[in-house]
C-alpha cells in the first residue's frame, strides 16, 4: 500500500499515512488538533488548512469562499491524500488546548474551590452532608508481632489479623491474583523492615483489598485525584487523603472536541477505525498530563498516588475506560454499564501507583451519568426534607428533582450556546470574555466587564444572558428576540437578519467587532427553552409546581457568574424568590472529591443512583408544547413570571 509523508506547518510535525487518508486524520495522528465540531463530515467548515505542496483529492464544499480557495484552502476532512504533502495550519483552525491560566481556573472554579476551607465547611447556604473521613485508598501503619512457637499464624494471615484489628471491621481476605506480587515479597519485606510496615487498603462498598505493602511508616504520604470529565472541560484535583487538603487544581479542554463537539458525534466517531482508541487516548493523555504536573508541583512521588475518582456523563466514562459506547445512541439506549466496579487505574491507562484504583461515580442511564449523581451527592439533595431541584446548565442540561424520599432526573439537550459555541462571537468563560453587561437605555451604549478585566475577545454564556436581558429591558428586542429598533451604526442589517454592535473594533482585544445577531439570540432562546421546559415538565410530571421547590441548586461551568435576576428575565430559570437559588458551581467535581475522601460518600452515591428514576422527555407528550411555549422571552405564559409584569 502506498504511504505518503504529511508535514504540518508551522509546527513542522510529520506523519506517514496510507493513501486516501484524510488530512484531518493525518493531523490527529501527528498530534495536531484541528477544530472540527461535526467530527469530519464536511459540515462545520472549521478544519480549514492551506495545501502548500502535493496532491489531494478533495470533495466539493460550500464552506470555502472564493478568496479562501484562491489561497489554497481546503477542508482537512474532505481531502484524501494522494502524494507527499505539505500543509499549513492557520491559527484559527487549531483547537485551543492551552492549559487554562490560573486566573481562568480561579474564575471557573470560583465559589466552591477558591478556599479549600469552604469546601470542608460546605457549600454556602446548604447543609453539605458530612461523611466520615475514610478515603477509598487508606494507608495503615502496622507493627506486627513477630511469630513465635505459640503464635505460628502465617505471614499473610498475620497481616490480615492486624489489619482487621486496625480497621476495626472484618476484612474480606480477597487478595486477588493481581496482588500476588505483594504476597511474593511479603515474608522478606516483613523481616527486613522488622515487622513495621505500611499497607495500602483499597476500599469498596463491600470489600477491602490490599493494594500495596511498603516497609516502615509511609502513612503520611497518601494522595488521590478526583476528576470531572466534562464533554468540553476536564477538571482535576490533587487531594491529600490523610489531611483532606486540596493540594492543587487543574483544568483543561477535552481534546475529544477534535472528534466532534457533542457526545453523539463522538459516539459515531468511536465506530471508525481506531476511533475508540483515539477518543480514549485524548482524555487519558490529558488526565495523565494533569496528574504529572500536579504531582511534580507538589513534590510527590507518583507511587504515593493510590486512588482516582471520576465523575462524568455516561459516554465520557465509557470513552475513558475504552468501552464501546455505540449502544448509548441506539434504541433503547442502553449503556454497557451504569455502575462500573472499582478497577485498577493502570488498566484504564492512568499512570499512578501501579496498584492504584479507579472509582467511577455511578450513573443512572445513557443520558444521566455519574456527574449528576456526584452533583446530587455534593449538594446533599438526597438528604433534604424539602423538595429541591438541581439544574446543571451544560450542553446536555441535566435536571434532578426530589428530596430524601425520591429523585427523578431528565436530560435536556440545550446545545452549546451557553458555553459560547454556535454563536457568532461566543467563547468559553475564559479571560477576555464579556461576562456582565449593561445597556444604557438612552443611547444603547454597552457597558461591560470581562473575565480577568482584559480587553474583550468575545461573549460567554453569562454575558449573553446579561446582554439579552438588557436588550429586553431597554426595548431593543421584542419578546421573540427580534431587534425592533433602528439605530444607525449600532443596529445593522445583514443577509441573515439584524445584528447589534456590542463592542467596536477599536475597543476589542483582536481589533474585531463583537456583535450579537438575531440568530445568536435565537440560539440562546432555544437553549434556555430546552432547560426551562425540561424543568417544567419534570416538576409537573411529579405533580408539583415550581413554587413547591424550596431550593434550586444551579450547577455548571458558568454558574458562578450567573446573574439570577437576569436569568429569570430571559426565562431560563423559574420566577421564584432569588434566595431559593443556590450556586454550586462544578458540583460534579465536588461530588467526586467527597467520594475520594469517604467510602460512605461513595456508598451514598450508589444509593443515589439506585433511587433515581429517569424521565425520558422525548416520549413525554407535553414536552414539545412546553418547549414551544418557552421559545419566548420570558415565556408565552406571562403569568408564570409575575415578578416581570410591568
Amino acid at each position: 500500500m502506498d504511504k505518503f509523508k504529511v508535514t504540518f506547518y508551522p509546527d513542522n510535525k510529520s506523519v506517514e499515512v496510507i493513501k486516501d487518508t484524510s488530512i484531518l486524520s493525518a493531523a490527529i495522528s501527528a498530534g495536531i488538533y484541528l477544530k472540527s465540531s461535526c467530527g469530519g463530515d464536511g459540515v462545520c467548515g472549521q478544519c480549514k488548512v492551506i495545501l502548500k505542496k502535493g496532491k489531494v483529492l478533495s470533495q466539493p464544499t460550500g464552506r470555502l469562499n472564493p478568496e479562501e480557495r484562491q489561497r489554497g484552502m481546503h477542508l482537512a476532512c474532505l481531502c484524501e491524500i494522494q502524494s507527499d504533502i505539505e500543509v499549513d495550519v492557520p491559527e484559527e483552525s487549531k483547537l485551543d488546548f492551552n492549559k487554562l491560566s490560573p486566573q481562568e481556573l480561579e474564575l471557573r472554579l470560583k465559589g466552591i474551590f477558591s478556599e479549600p476551607e469552604d469546601v470542608e465547611a460546605g457549600v454556602p447556604g446548604l447543609k453539605e452532608p458530612v461523611f466520615t473521613h475514610s478515603p477509598l485508598a487508606q494507608k495503615l501503619y502496622l507493627e506486627l508481632p513477630p511469630p513465635n512457637l505459640e503464635d505460628k499464624v502465617s505471614d499473610l494471615e498475620r497481616l490480615h489479623r492486624q489489619i482487621r484489628r486496625a480497621l476495626n471491621k472484618p476484612l474480606m481476605p480477597n487478595i486477588t491474583s493481581s496482588n500476588l506480587a505483594n504476597i511474593r515479597i511479603l515474608s522478606e519485606l516483613l523481616r527486613d523492615s522488622e515487622w513495621k510496615i505500611t499497607v495500602t487498603i483499597g476500599q469498596r462498598t463491600d470489600a477491602n483489598e490490599i493494594l500495596a505493602i511498603q516497609p516502615q511508616d509511609t502513612s503520611s504520604k497518601n494522595f488521590g485525584f478526583c476528576f470531572d470529565i466534562g464533554t468540553t472541560t476536564l477538571s482535576g484535583q490533587l487531594v491529600d487523603l490523610k489531611t483532606k487538603k486540596i493540594l492543587g487544581t487543574k483544568a483543561a479542554y477535552n481534546k475529544q472536541a477534535s472528534f466532534g463537539s457533542d457526545v453523539i458525534t463522538r459516539i459515531i466517531y468511536a465506530r471508525e477505525q481506531d476511533g475508540l482508541e483515539k477518543l480514549h487516548h485524548a482524555v487519558v493523555d490529558e488526565m495523565n498530563e494533569m496528574i504529572r504536573e500536579l504531582v511534580a508541583e507538589n513534590n510527590i512521588d507518583l507511587n504515593d498516588v493510590n486512588c482516582i475518582t471520576c465523575a462524568g456523563n455516561t459516554t465520557m466514562i465509557h470513552l475513558l475506560l475504552r468501552i464501546d459506547p455505540t449502544y448509548i445512541r441506539r434504541e433503547p439506549y442502553v449503556p454497557t454499564a451504569n455502575f462500573i466496579p472499582v478497577v485498577k487505574a493502570a488498566e484504564a491507562g492512568l499512570k499512578i501507583n501501579p496498584h492504584g484504583i479507579l472509582s467511577l461515580a455511578p450513573g443512572v442511564s445513557s443520558y444521566v451519568g455519574g456527574d449528576i449523581t456526584a452533583g446530587i451527592l455534593s449538594c446533599g439533595m438526597d438528604k433534604e426534607e424539602e423538595l429541591c431541584m438541581l439544574i446543571d446548565i451544560g450542553t446536555n442540561g441535566e435536571i434532578a428533582l426530589g428530596n430524601k424520599e425520591f429523585l427523578v432526573t431528565c436530560a435536556a439537550s440545550a446545545g452549546p450556546a451557553f458555553e459560547g459555541s454556535g454563536v457568532t462571537c461566543g467563547m468559553r468563560a475564559a479571560k477576555g470574555a464579556i461576562q456582565k453587561a449593561k445597556i444604557n437605555p438612552k443611547d444603547f451604549s454597552v457597558e461591560f466587564s470581562t473575565i480577568g478585566g482584559s480587553l474583550p475577545i468575545g461573549i460567554c454564556g453569562s454575558g449573553y444572558i446579561d446582554l439579552i436581558s438588557e436588550m429586553l429591558k431597554t426595548g431593543l428586542i421584542d419578546k421573540s428576540g427580534k431587534i425592533k429598533i433602528e439605530l444607525p451604526g449600532l443596529v445593522r442589517n445583514t443577509e441573515s437578519g439584524k445584528e447589534f454592535l456590542v463592542v467596536e473594533k477599536s475597543r476589542s482585544a483582536n481589533q474585531a467587532e463583537i456583535v450579537i445577531t438575531e440568530d445568536d439570540i435565537e440560539n440562546i432562546k432555544r437553549a434556555k427553552a430546552a432547560i426551562y421546559s425540561a424543568a417544567a415538565v419534570l416538576v409537573r410530571h411529579m405533580g408539583f409546581g415550581f413554587h413547591d421547590l424550596k431550593k434550586i441548586f444551579i450547577a455548571g461551568g458558568f454558574g458562578t457568574f450567573l446573574d439570577m435576576k437576569k436569568a429569570i428575565r430571559i426565562g431560563l430559570l423559574p420566577d421564584l424568590e432569588r434566595n431559593r437559588f443556590i450556586f454550586v458551581g462544578n458540583s460534579s467535581l465536588a461530588g467526586a472529591r467527597s467520594m475520594l475522601l469517604s467510602i460512605d460518600a461513595f456508598t451514598e452515591s450508589e444509593k443515589i443512583a439506585q433511587m433515581m428514576t429517569y424521565l425520558e422527555l422525548s416520549v413525554e407528550p407535553t414536552y414539545m408544547d412546553e418547549y414551544i411555549a418557552a421559545l419566548f422571552f420570558p415565556h408565552t405564559d406571562l403569568n408564570r413570571f409575575p415578578s416581570l409584569k410591568l
Binding site: K479, K484, D625, F632, T636, D637
Partner: protein, 312 residues
C-alpha cells in the same frame, strides 16, 4: 326524573371587534360588522351570552383568479376580470355583508403590482361598495410590507381588518394599522403558543388586544381539519378561562383551503361547494367568527345554517 344539565360559567370573554366605520364615525360604510364578544363556547346559548353571529366574508382578488375551479369561474363570470365589478356583484347579487380583498396580484410571481396600484384599488372599492372590508396581503413578507401600509393609509378611518401579521413580520403592518385606526389579523401556523406570542408582540407595540383577530390557519376536511379544530378549541377554552392574550375572534380562510382538496378538483363537480360547507360548519363549532369563503352557494347554505343555529 329529568336530568339536570350542568351549566358552566366562564370568567373570560372573547373580545369584540368592530369592522367598518359609519359616516358619523369617520368612515363611509353603510353598516358595520361586530364579531366576538362571546362568554361561552360556540352555540351554548344557555351557558353565556353570544352577542354576535359568525359572519361570512366573500373572498375576491385583485387579479383574475385563473387557476380557480371552473365551478367558481362559471359562477362569477366576467366580473372576475375587474375586482370592483366582482365586489359589486357579491354585494348586489349575493347580499355580501363583508368582503375580503386578497391582493394576490402584488405577489412577485403573480403580476408584482405596486403599492400605488393596490392602494388605488382599495380607494376604488371603498368608493363603489359600502360594506366593510378585509384587506389581505399576497403572502410575500417583503411585498406585503410595501403594499399593506399603502392600502392601510388609503383606507384610513374605515376600520378595516388587515392581514396577515406573522411572527417574523408583524412590525410594519402593526405600525400601519395603529396609525390608520384599523384592526389586524395575526396568523400563526396551527400553534396555540405562537398565536399567543404574536398577540403579545403586537399588543406590546401598542395595538390593543381588542383590535386583533386570530388567523389560526386551518386545514380543510380531510386535510388537517381536526388539528385546526383542536387548536381553536384550546385557544377558546384558554380565552374563556381568562387568558386575555388569546381572547380574540378567529378568522378562517375556508374557501382557499377547501378548494385545494383533491376531491374538489374534478371537472364539473359540486364537491368543492360541499367541501367548503362541511369545513365551514365544523369550524363554526370550533369557534370561527369570520369565515372567508368563495362559492356563493356554499355561502348561502352557511348563512342559513348560522340563522338556524341562532333560532331565527
Amino acid at each position: 326524573m329529568a336530568e339536570e344539565v350542568l351549566i358552566e360559567k366562564w370568567p373570560g370573554t372573547v373580545s369584540s371587534v368592530t369592522i367598518g366605520a359609519l359616516k358619523n364615525e369617520g368612515g363611509s360604510r353603510s353598516a358595520i360588522i361586530k364579531v366576538g364578544g362571546q362568554k361561552t363556547l360556540p352555540f351554548l346559548f344557555k351557558e353565556g351570552q353570544i352577542p354576535n353571529k359568525p359572519v361570512v366574508a366573500f373572498e375576491i382578488w385583485d387579479i383574475s383568479p385563473d387557476d380557480w375551479h371552473p365551478e367558481l369561474i362559471k359562477e362569477y363570470g366576467t366580473s372576475l376580470k375587474d375586482p370592483v365589478v366582482w365586489a359589486e356583484k357579491c354585494v348586489n347579487d349575493h347580499k355580501a355583508e363583508l368582503l375580503c380583498i386578497k391582493l394576490q396580484g402584488a405577489h412577485p410571481d403573480f403580476g408584482n403590482k405596486t403599492a400605488k396600484e393596490e392602494a388605488g384599488l382599495i380607494s376604488q372599492l371603498l368608493k363603489k361598495v359600502s360594506v366593510p372590508l378585509i384587506i389581505y396581503g399576497c403572502g410575500d413578507n417583503e411585498k406585503d410590507n410595501e403594499i399593506l401600509p399603502a392600502c392601510s393609509e388609503a383606507a384610513k378611518g374605515e376600520k378595516c381588518l388587515i392581514g396577515d401579521a406573522v411572527q417574523e413580520n408583524y412590525k410594519t403592518l402593526t405600525a400601519a394599522v395603529l396609525a390608520d385606526g384599523h384592526n389586524i389579523i395575526a396568523e400563526s401556523p396551527i400553534d396555540i403558543n405562537i398565536a399567543k406570542q404574536l398577540n403579545i408582540l403586537i399588543s406590546d407595540m401598542g395595538l390593543s388586544l381588542e383590535r386583533i383577530v386570530i388567523n389560526p390557519t386551518i386545514g380543510a376536511l380531510g386535510y388537517g381539519l381536526e388539528y385546526a379544530y383542536s387548536i381553536m378549541e384550546r385557544a377558546r377554552l384558554a380565552a374563556l378561562s381568562g387568558d386575555k392574550t388569546l381572547a380574540c375572534p378567529f378568522i378562517c380562510f375556508i374557501g382557499q383551503e377547501a378548494w385545494r382538496a383533491k376531491e374538489t378538483k374534478v371537472e364539473e363537480s359540486q364537491q368543492g361547494i360541499i367541501w367548503e360547507q362541511v369545513t365551514a360548519i365544523a369550524l363554526l363549532e370550533a369557534g370561527a367568527d369570520i369565515l372567508v369563503m368563495r362559492h356563493p352557494k356554499a355561502i348561502e347554505k352557511i348563512n342559513s345554517h348560522i340563522q338556524e343555529l341562532f333560532g331565527s
